[in-house]
């Protein structure tokens, strides 16, 4: 339980969040505890870093599962400790108001509150991020992107904001900008395998509306494939990486023969871009990805030890991809 509570909330699957929030009343009662009378309390400090991390994560889990009462309780405790002017607390309070807002008018009011806070103190990054997130959930991605652009202008080393912007651009179909944002994320965290895979995915998606010649298509596809390779290199058994590798190699195999004549022209030393991979290595990578995916689906669905951490939805998608491949053979 306590281990779940110490993890960053984004990694907590819904079922765990529900379990945590069901225990909220117990945890709240236990942690409130009793304190010694005044002079003696100076000698004993039961406060630890974990306590407040727990409170914050409990707060988020309660909001996710609709237990607003416990959430408010957590928030009050945090406010009591850190003060209402703490930037992080302000963001959490905003989150609470967003979650309990009845209609879009209430949300607009919350948004106005954010704007006012930012006018007072433009360096309040958590509130800025909340503004962008709220605009996104209000269905105004263009404004959300503007907010993020302003944020990133003053704080260009914020990987979280860059990747959020990449997601927003992707949802708008602006793949070029999304790729730029993800590259920025990689400059900050060069070993983030999930970002490598995500970049591969977006490169792959951007192929679909590439109207240019085969050379461009081949280049983007091989770049995408290499991104997936890198993500697997960094994290073995990364299901998303193998999924993308299989998709991209399959498409590359489709495209490859047609453009084999131009392959010399594509490897352009002037811009320094890499030459497309050889047909042989594409085929081998495709085989490798298929084999690995099969293994993962097999072991993951049985829940074998060490293989049971895969997301249910990802396993289903992988199985579906494998089935799509085998169907023509069965007929």
């Amino acid at each position: 339980m306590s281990i779940d509570l110490l993890q960053p909330p984004t990694h907590v699957p819904p079922s765990t969040a529900l379990r945590i929030s069901q225990q909220a009343p117990t945890i709240l009662r236990n942690t409130s505890g009793f304190r010694l009378p005044y002079p003696l309390s100076l000698f004993v400090s039961t406060e630890s870093q974990e306590l407040w991390t727990t409170q914050e994560n409990l707060f988020l889990a309660c909001l996710r599962t609709g237990d607003d009462k416990s959430a408010l309780h957590c928030l009050e405790k945090l406010t009591e400790r850190f003060g209402g002017q703490n930037e992080r607390i302000m963001a959490l309070r905003g989150l609470y108001h967003e979650a309990t807002a009845e209609n879009s008018k209430a949300l607009e009011e919350v948004l106005e509150g954010y704007v006012e806070t930012l006018e007072e103190n433009p360096t309040n990054m958590p509130i800025r991020k909340r503004t962008a997130a709220l605009l996104k959930s209000l269905g105004r991605p263009a404004e959300a992107i503007q907010t993020l652009v302003a944020l990133l202008d003053s704080s260009p080393t914020d990987a979280e904001a860059w990747s959020e912007m990449a997601e927003l651009y992707t949802s708008q179909g602006q793949y070029y900008q999304a790729i730029y944002c993800l590259e920025e994320v990689l400059l900050i965290m060069p070993n983030a395998w999930s970002v490598h895979a995500r970049l591969g995915e977006i490169l792959f998606r951007s192929c679909s509306n590439l109207a240019g010649g085969n050379g461009d298509l081949l280049k983007t596809l091989s770049e995408s494939m290499r991104r997936f390779c890198r993500s697997i290199e960094l994290c073995e058994n990364y299901l998303r990486g193998y999924y993308g590798l299989k998709l991209s190699t399959k498409k590359l195999l489709d495209v490859y023969p047609k453009s084999s004549k131009q392959s010399q022209a594509v490897s352009d030393p002037a811009t320094g871009d890499l030459a497309p991979p050889t047909l042989r290595s594409i085929q081998r990578l495709h085989e490798l990805a298929t084999g690995k995916l099969g293994e993962m689906v097999r072991r993951g669905s049985v829940g074998e030890r060490g293989w049971n951490d895969y997301d249910e939805a990802e396993l289903i998608a992988a199985r579906e991809l494998l089935d799509r491949d085998t169907q023509p053979i069965e007929r």
Binding site: S45, S154, Y180, L187, P190, C229, R230, E233, L285
Partner: protein, 258 residues
């Protein structure tokens, strides 16, 4: 050969109750007091303004681009490098573009820097004063007492450390004088403080001093001219030799996994 004579010194048990215990208790209490005093004296770190934040983080972005350039393709790298080098040289990210080229003001006249120094002074005073007082107190009341015998043998090098205040040459090193007990508690009470005050306490003076050294290093950094920092970073960026991590990644992967 004769066995080395085991020195025995008959000690009054009152020594234990009236010297060893008081020193220990006083030391613990001062630690706790120092912890709360330093909390009271703490000044909130000064907020950076938005342009200052932009300045430091843009510089960091340049550093990131330089160190992690292998993660992005050569063409993306070239675009970013051109953009950042031009921007750095033009001083686009400077917090105070009008101060460009002027010499830095003397830190002594800068009120912001003075405030930082005041904070350091306060911390130092909070450490030095109780230390001096207790040392004087122990010297005045308890100097020259041998109060305990360590249960393990030690080499003679420890004599200076364990028997300060007792001017006896032949005394076995295992005997500890009251002044030395003070030093031992001064350096060795950290676990006790951790236990009663939580792990991030400010009770021990040694950790305090180390933290202060770090703060000092951090404070000296921004005193440099930001424009010069940007210029040198632009130069560093210009000479980066770029290689692409995705170059040949498929072969690496294949040879690793098959």
């Amino acid at each position: 050969m004769a066995q080395p004579v085991v020195q025995t010194i008959p000690r009054d048990p009152a020594l234990f109750y009236w010297i060893l215990l008081p020193i220990t208790v006083v030391m613990i209490l001062t630690g706790v007091l120092r912890h709360y005093a330093s909390i009271l004296l703490q000044t909130a770190p000064k907020k950076q303004t938005l342009p200052q934040m932009r300045q430091t983080r843009s510089l960091l972005r340049g550093v990131n681009l330089r160190t992690n350039s292998h993660a992005i393709s050569p063409s993306s790298f070239a675009t970013r490098r051109n953009y950042l080098v031009t921007a750095f040289k033009d001083g686009t990210f400077l917090a105070e573009p009008e101060n460009r080229g002027k010499p830095r003001p003397n830190p002594m006249t800068d009120p912001a820097a003075m405030e930082g120094m005041m904070g350091m002074m306060k911390g130092n005073v909070a450490m030095m004063v109780p230390q001096t007082l207790i040392m004087g107190w122990i010297n005045a009341f308890f100097s020259g007492f041998v109060i305990m015998r360590l249960p393990f043998p030690l080499t003679p090098q420890f004599k200076a450390m364990l028997q300060s205040g007792v001017g006896t040459r032949d005394l076995d090193v295992r005997w500890v004088s009251s002044l030395s007990w003070y030093f031992l508690t001064l350096f060795g009470l950290q676990p006790v403080y951790n236990f009663i005050l939580g792990s991030n306490n400010a009770a021990n003076q040694m950790t305090q001093q180390m933290a202060q050294a770090q703060v000092g290093a951090g404070m000296m950094g921004p005193e440099q001219d930001p424009d010069k920092l940007f210029m040198s970073e632009a130069e560093n960026l210009e000479v980066v030799e770029h290689y692409y991590i995705l170059d040949g990644v498929e072969e690496r992967l294949l040879s690793k996994l098959t």
